[in-house]
Amino acid sequence: MSKFRRKKGKGLQAINTSSLPDIVFMLLFFFMVATTMRETEVQVQVKVPEATEVKKLEKKSLVSYIYIGRPVAHVARMYGTEPLIQLNDKLVSEEGIPYESLQDFVLFEREKLPEADKNKMVMSLRIDENISMGKVDDVKQALKRAKALIINYSARKEYREQGRQR
């Protein structure tokens, strides 16, 4: 009996926390390696469609993003709710077909790449699934003219059962 009583009397022992920083640093390094910096604020709502044949986009440095979708709430107050195009982080506010802006955008982005990679530039099209193809076709025509021919239709991975689903 006296054994137990003695322990109780000493009270709670402090937990040794000297390894806590190590644990947290480990977590920190994990997140630093596994994630990428959020570079652009997307000002249009984009819900990309699902597809089964998607592949990972490699070499992020070669990729430029084109977003097409309806503006998010705080942007919609300025520009209305019609679908807009965003090039990397710049919102194209003009009406109609932004051939000029797209051409400039492609030239600007191509200029940033090293000489050897200039023809490997990938345009990632992040387009909302409810946008009509007219707008998409216009962008594709403009990209064709600007000779940015490698495009990537951004899509989420869709897992389908073997066999067919209806």
Binding site: P21, E53, V54, S124, S132, M133, D137, Q141, L149, I151
Partner: protein, 209 residues
């Protein structure tokens, strides 16, 4: 002997690390970009007026109208039947006269890479001359368009994968392009099953808008 330096209090180290951790949690994203990569056809030269004559049987017209209805080769079709149809179109298993011409072709693979190929690695067989013409209306929704695009790509990928498994006992996607032999295999398979999907200039299909 020098005075011993007082020990640094490490108690706040955890707090600092937590702060950094939370900063990274907030400012970074984890999503990996995935998508379907396609090549746009180059813009034709100004003076070049090319009207390529293609045999009618070599073309499969895939039409998406403004109400997102799919028509393949003249008949209305469900999206999920498209893959099968495309595979049939590209292989022409029954040697039908309505499906594309199969052309005798030789494709060079690395010698000795497969037991099913002759020792010099030359594949002799038939390659389809088929082209898929994908057409859409300006009012077609993008989601539907991509689904159709996906089915077409899926069909070609299946054919490539089956060939790769049969001859090289490997998934097509698992081929490592950094390895010159496997890259040659991939190039060879691409010659046999081409991604022949043409997209015509957009137009309004179905009259009134």
């Amino acid at each position: 002997m020098a005075r011993s330096t007082p020990e640094v209090n490490g108690g706040s180290l955890a707090d600092i690390a937590f702060l950094l951790l939370i900063f990274f949690l907030v400012t970074t994203t984890m999503d990996i970009d995935t998508g379907i990569t396609r090549l746009l056809p180059p813009e034709p030269e100004e003076d070049q007026e090319t009207e390529v004559q293609v045999n009618k049987r070599n073309v499969l017209v895939v039409l998406l109208n403004r109400s997102d209805l799919l028509m393949v080769g003249g008949e209305v079709m469900d999206r999920l039947d498209l893959k099968e149809k495309t595979v049939e179109f590209f292989t022409n298993p029954m040697n039908s006269v309505d499906l594309p011409v199969m052309e005798d072709t030789e494709v060079q693979f690395p010698p000795g890479s497969s037991s099913l190929l002759p020792p010099d690695g030359m594949w002799r067989g038939q390659v389809s001359k088929g082209v898929i013409s994908l057409q859409n209306d300006r009012s077609t929704t993008y989601g539907k368009y991509l689904q159709v695009q996906n089915e077409l790509v899926a069909a070609v990928n299946t054919l490539r994968n089956d060939f790769c498994k049969l001859y090289f006992d490997k998934e097509y996607d698992a081929l490592n392009t950094a390895n010159p032999i496997e890259e040659e295999i991939q190039t060879g398979i691409r010659k046999i099953y081409k991604m022949n999907i043409s997209e015509s200039a957009p137009k309004n299909i179905g009259g009134r808008n």
